[in-house]
Assembly symmetry: C2
């Protein structure tokens, strides 16, 4: 009998749920706002009823293999307890797994959203295309998430908190981060960080384009900054230069520490790859002698036995697909 799996992507803004076939074809999906302000009980109730609805809809596809939920971190795993998640205020110490299982009367496996995205890239994206069974993925979104896949499996560490690469310091004497550290990668490579740096550039008179938005009380987004940089706005170009340097330094540490065959960068802000990649590679090559000893002759092609760095393949849905993969690969 055929089987299907349900994946849930619990975001700070949207809650997305989808059913997938055995070979990861999407069956049906739905997206609703995450009613964070109403508190955890409301969000849990919304999740449970949406999951039930989806299971009903997919029932004709066979047996339910499992339910996987990708959640913003940090989360204690496999317990599935949230710990001070910055993107879900008020959800501290929420027993996500226990409470969702009680509502559904079905087993649920929780995973961090960044780990789920990395799992999807490993089994249905770049990892599958290149037969690379280990990789590290950075997801540039509101924050910077990290996921490490070793020999096909998520490296969780002892309590599920491995891969917090967004809080690796790239400039340890730099700006203070919410996490308490200084100069975290997340401050310089997330969509939030890009918008902040652009506003700083505007305030210092280096970005007429961003200044115009600010003067008109318009929000500044990473997408705006990328457009302005493409049009030659000096401040916006400078921002993406910083993004590239920060990513290059973080990758250099990862390459020296883990010596993986594949590193990939996803999330919305990774769409600006052409703007930051040249600087990123220049920094990576300078800062990591392991990279220099293992760099591919041609960066645009995957080479086995070399250190390959590519933009992620699966786009915005990797977190949702990865959540659905969790019951098979983690559970």
């Amino acid at each position: 009998m055929s089987k299907f799996t349900v994946g849930v992507d619990l975001g700070g803004t949207n809650l997305r749920i989808a059913g997938f076939t055995n070979d990861w074809q999407r069956l049906t999906s739905l997206a609703i706002p995450t009613r964070t302000r109403e508190g955890p009980a409301t969000v849990l109730g919304d999740m449970a009823s949406a999951i039930r609805h989806l299971i009903d809809q997919c029932g004709g596809e066979g047996e339910l293999e499992g339910i996987g939920v990708g959640s913003p971190g940090p989360i204690e795993l496999p317990a599935g307890r949230l710990l001070q998640p910055p993107n879900l205020p008020g959800f501290h110490e929420l027993e996500l797994k226990v409470e969702l299982e009680a509502l559904l009367n079905l087993p649920v496996i929780i995973e961090s959203d960044a780990n789920a995205a990395a799992l999807a890239e490993a089994h249905a994206g770049l990892g599958r295309e290149f037969s690379a069974d280990s990789l590290c993925m950075l997801t540039l979104g509101t924050g910077v998430g990290g996921g490490i896949i070793l020999n096909g499996k998520i490296w969780h560490g002892m309590n599920g908190m491995a891969g917090e690469i967004g809080h690796v310091a790239v400039w340890p004497e730099g700006m203070l981060c919410n996490c308490g550290n200084r100069g975290c990668l997340e401050l310089f490579a997330s969509a939030t960080g890009i918008a902040r740096m652009a506003r700083e550039a505007a305030a210092e008179g280096r970005s007429p384009k961003v200044r115009e938005l600010v003067d008109h009380h318009q929000p500044v987004t990473a997408r705006h900054v990328a457009e302005f940089a493409e049009a030659g706005d000096p401040g916006s170009l400078g921002v993406y230069d910083t993004v590239g340097r920060a990513l290059g330094l973080a990758l250099a540490d990862l390459v020296n520490t883990l010596n993986l065959p594949l590193y990939t960068i996803g999330g919305g802000a990774a769409a600006a790859w052409p703007l930051f990649a040249p600087v990123m590679f220049r920094e990576l090559e300078r800062a990591s002698y392991v990279y220099r000893l293992t760099q591919p002759a041609d960066r645009s092609r995957y080479e086995a036995g070399k250190t390959n760095v590519f933009p992620a393949q699966l786009g915005a849905d990797s977190g949702l697909l990865g959540a659905a993969m969790v019951p098979r690969y983690v559970g």
Copy 2:
């Protein structure tokens, strides 16, 4: 029939060889100078004849299980080819495994010295004592070596170069390292780095004790600096403050990335633990929120499920013992 294993520690200064029983008791050992200046052929010949001599001596103990060699890195593994080893000038691209096997007519397994030391701590030191099957070890010697053990096995990465933590940048805009990067951990936490920082402190008038050595044309060693710090010499105290900050920053990155239960610091310069550990823990706690979420209530006792940081247990012989363990755990 009982078995024995031969371990070889190929150092830049000394070549040490020992036989070990099945349960890692040392049978017999010998140490000879590494005749680096005479070139690789001489050193290989010395190794081969010392290994043969040792096998003869241990012959009564049963069957030879295997021969493991710990070598300064970087080494391509499992091929066992040296790549620009800074502590073995002239040994670039030496096929250590192939050439040693040809001389001995026996299989040999090569490992990096820092990985071998970490393996020994895992299976006969702290890891065994605490039943921790994953750990990361930093070895503070001429350089700073790193070894990562995941689920009881060395994490080699794709070509044996994982664990190059000595070249993770702790101050990316700092001093230039031989590896091409800036502000590497090794510059601030190795014995060489400690001596250099002490001479700098003396030149700036902050260390009367070190100044005295320099004025008398005496070499400055990390051990001197530790003694002077214990006696209250301000410049020497400042040096160990920097050692602690650098180690704390490097550990913070490792804790955020890998979330292991155990981190350990060995090598000669780790003997000054009381001088650098308080600053190291202060930095680690500040810079890693994963550490803050998982720190033991009492740092002096191992706690399961927490992030434990301890001085290594096995002392200077861990590299030799670890080399002997390589045939069983890696081969």
